[in-house]
Amino acid sequence: MMDGVATIPPFEAFYSQHADEVLSVLRRKLGRDRAEDAFQETFLRALRAYGRLRHGEHLRAWVLTIASNVATDVHRRAAATAHMPEVAHEDGRPAYEEIAGLTDGLPPKERAAVVLRYGYDLTYDEIAAAIGSSPVAARQAASSGVRRLRAASEGRTP
């Protein structure tokens, strides 16, 4: 270029040039399946921002930064919806393993609420999202499950 600043290529050229590398970076970070959605999201974000570019330098670094941000968002979303932290119990067994066996006799919703609350240490908001109910209903299901367990351990019906 005459003025030493790279001009911005048509989006097609930019996409063709970087698609392979973006996909392989995302596969490394997210695995094959999740990389596909993230790939589309990365280039849609790039397309949305493309009009704001002032020059065509560092486009590779630019799009890899976007890909990295998308991967971080994917991880964050996964953590918010499905992440099951392993809350270790004193004897070293994960709490969810221990509690799962104890709750076998509970109605399904109460069992799910109890296991998620005391086995996985999720909040009631997270439990509500996981079992498809409201946080209030999740709290009620967990406490009624606990009452039922207590009654069972004392040899009576609640």
Partner: protein, 188 residues
């Protein structure tokens, strides 16, 4: 590029659906050789004869016409491709496509509007077309508009001929102009 074809196709379609493109384009085969079709949200933007052009030249052409948000996106030109296929198969005599004429001068838009009304299978001279837009002495300017027509075939500049009936000129080559007029039955 080694991105799986299905993933590549999904991204290109998503870009069209999201309305993020200045233009989507594709190169399609036709009996008169490969044609570059490009469309914006406003309609068909360009049809260009690709016989002697590289894909890079085609891309550059579209970028100049539309802006830098251009992507090969077959979905964006689906309607144009289908209607052109029907036209070349002899099953369609008029086009029902939105045309993006943004940026055209009033004179150019007027001439192209009249041009669009020249029926299938008929010809008109430059002078007659000039008269129809109320500028009977502007045959030469009409010739320039034909010469720069960005949407040939659909805006049928192949139906415009010299006063002596000669084919004069055509961006796609005189043989293509003759082929189109023959297809329409204007030349036997």
């Amino acid at each position: 590029m080694t991105v799986p074809a299905e993933l590549d196709r999904r991204f290109r379609e998503a870009a069209v659906r999201a309305g993020l493109l200045d233009a989507g384009y594709d190169v399609v085969d036709s009996p008169i050789g490969p044609l570059l079709l490009a469309a914006s949200d406003h309609g068909l933007l360009r049809i260009s004869f690709q016989r002697d052009r590289s894909p890079e030249e085609a891309l550059e052409q579209i970028t100049r016409a539309a802006g830098r948000h251009v992507l090969r996106a077959p979905r964006a030109v689906d309607d144009a491709r289908r209607e052109l296929d029907e036209y070349f198969a002899g099953r369609r005599s008029s086009f029902d496509l939105s045309i993006d004429l943004r940026g055209a001068t009033e004179f150019t838009a007027g001439v192209l509007g009249e041009l669009a009304r020249v029926p299938y299978g008929q010809t008109v001279t430059y002078a007659e077309l000039a008269a129809r837009v109320g500028r009977p002495r502007a045959a030469r300017a009409v010739g320039t508009v034909m010469n720069r027509n960005r949407i040939p075939i659909v805006l049928p500049c192949h139906r415009v001929v010299g006063s002596d009936g000669s084919l004069t000129g055509y961006a796609g080559g005189l043989d293509v102009k003759e082929q189109l007029l023959r297809l329409e039955g204007a030349i036997l």
